[in-house]
């Protein structure tokens, strides 16, 4: 036998929107005096004289309350009765207030050659104060993404994360695909602008490895203003045609970088001359996919060499 029950216009509203609720106390709740007074609390605060109470045709008592503007993002609305001099809680509902999701933005993706997956990240936008689900959606396409081909399985990020990883088996490499982020909560849905990309055009390239090589064995006295080195491309990207840039600077206060390029992505021996004799140099290299779209790798860690 259910003494009291709250029904509510909507448990989730926009911050500042009104909420209307009713609490009905059934007549069969026999422990009571004839016309029990129904009281309301919002969280811990007793809402004095806020409920309009009336007797229903079936003899039950109903109190209706309107909160003009719900300003806390998460609270409870409680319905009480006075019963032998104590406040008795009959029912309680949780109330949430927040915002519909804003448009996610800054969506960007990188193809990871180690995990062979496409990792996309985005900015979720301001806090909605409500449980909001983000889903990375995509479909296969062709050409410049005007046609929509097979849909790709939704990528659902781990809780609270703003990135998602689409596994290799859901991708077609060397073909364009359309990607966007959808945000959804109880108050609405929004979508980020769409990206049109071929995963292989957004490969996250790692820098090559710089290695010292001995000066020419035959040459007794190596030229004092030269350095010799070699480099190897990052192994997982061996199959990609790449061009690279070398930058170097003396280890002196305020020295700036000098740069050489384009260079091939692999050499067994490279001679760098017209340097300061007897000086320590830092050398770094970065590479990018040649002839096809791509992004520069970061600069490699420094290789430190000393001219004689």
């Amino acid at each position: 036998e259910n003494c009291g029950h709250i029904s509510i216009s909507a448990p989730i509203v926009r911050l500042g929107d009104p909420v209307t609720a009713s609490c009905t106390v059934s007549q069969s709740c026999s422990y009571l005096e004839p016309e029990p007074r129904i009281l309301w609390k919002l969280g811990a605060e007793l809402l004095q004289h806020k409920g309009r109470q009336q007797t229903q045709p079936d003899g039950s008592q109903e109190s209706i309350i309107t909160l003009p503007s719900l300003n806390s993002t998460h609270t409870f609305l409680l319905c009480y009765l006075n019963w032998s001099n104590s406040l008795q809680l009959l029912d309680q509902v949780e109330l949430w207030a927040g915002h519909p999701p804003a448009m996610p933005y800054n969506l960007s993706c990188l193809m990871n050659l180690m995990s062979n997956s496409l990792i996309c990240q985005w900015e979720p936008g301001p806090d909605t104060h409500l449980p909001t689900n983000f889903t990375l959606k995509s479909f296969k396409s062709r050409g410049d993404c005007q046609t929509k081909e097979d849909p790709i399985k939704d990528c659902v990020p781990a809780d609270g994360q703003s990135y998602c990883s689409i596994p290799r088996k859901h991708l077609i490499l060397y073909q364009n695909m359309v990607i966007w982020v959808q945000a959804e909560n109880a108050l609405g849905t929004s979508q980020s602008p769409q990206l049109c990309l071929d995963p292989m055009d957004v490969v996250k390239l790692e820098p090559p490895t710089l290695l010292a090589v001995d000066p020419h064995p035959e040459v007794a006295l190596p030229q004092p203003d030269c350095l010799w080195l070699r480099w190897e491309p990052w192994k997982p990207s061996l199959y990609m045609d790449q061009k690279c840039e070398l930058r170097y600077r003396p280890q002196l206060q305020g020295a700036s970088w000098a740069q050489v390029g384009p260079l091939p992505s692999r050499t067994v021996r490279y001679e760098l001359c017209e340097l300061r004799p007897a000086t320590a140099y830092a050398l770094q290299m970065r590479c990018i996919r040649a002839l096809l779209p791509g992004q520069w790798s970061s600069w490699s860690p420094s290789l430190e060499l000393q001219t004689t």
């Binding site: 088996k169 060397y174 073909q175 061996l238 199959y239 096809l292």
Partner: protein, 177 residues
């Protein structure tokens, strides 16, 4: 050797050929990795010792006769390339479950071969030389023992490498001087 002086008449977009070159190199590297793993794990390191077994299992070869340097017929060369890639995708699929350690390599190679076939097929469509329907993969061999699946893996990887090497040389020629 291919005569670079005179690439064929069909207008092949440069990006298409460059992508195919990269896809060929990518698949070749994975086929080599597959062979190395089969050699390390099952001591099956000599494809030449498995020719008779290949015959008896009925493992088909793909050819690129129209891609030869003397008489390059581009449309049928593209068709043979695409059909060959589809054949090897099917063979790799038939090898599914060869062994847990090898599955990731075989699965990735199969996906890359399939994507390479898609790249070629779409270009054929855009050039208007694609047949009405995609070619069928043909009957795939059935492997009845772990050894046959492993040996079949060595043969398929080895055949695929030769096929990709020939495709690569043709594509190289198509990029012109």
């Amino acid at each position: 050797p291919l005569d670079p002086a005179s690439p064929p008449s069909l207008p092949l977009p440069r990006s298409f050929v460059l992508k195919c070159l990269e896809q060929a190199r990518r698949a070749q590297a994975e086929a080599v990795a597959m062979q190395e793993k089969l050699c390390a794990m099952h001591k099956l390191c000599h494809p030449e010792e498995l020719a008779l077994l290949g015959h008896s299992l009925g493992i088909p070869w793909a050819h690129l006769r129209s891609c030869s340097s003397q008489d390059l017929q581009l449309a049928s060369c593209l068709r043979q390339l695409q059909a060959g890639l589809l054949l090897y995708q099917g063979l790799l699929q038939a090898l599914a479950g060869v062994s847990p350690e090898l599955s990731p390599t075989v699965d990735t190679l199969q996906l890359d071969v399939a994507d390479f076939a898609t790249t070629v097929w779409q270009q054929m469509e855009e050039l208007g030389v694609a047949p009405a329907t995609q070619p069928m993969q043909g009957i795939m061999p059935t492997f009845t023992s772990a050894f046959q699946r492993q040996a079949g893996g060595v043969l398929v990887a080895s055949h695929l490498q030769s096929f990709l090497e020939l495709a690569y040389r043709t594509l190289r020629y198509l990029t012109g001087p």
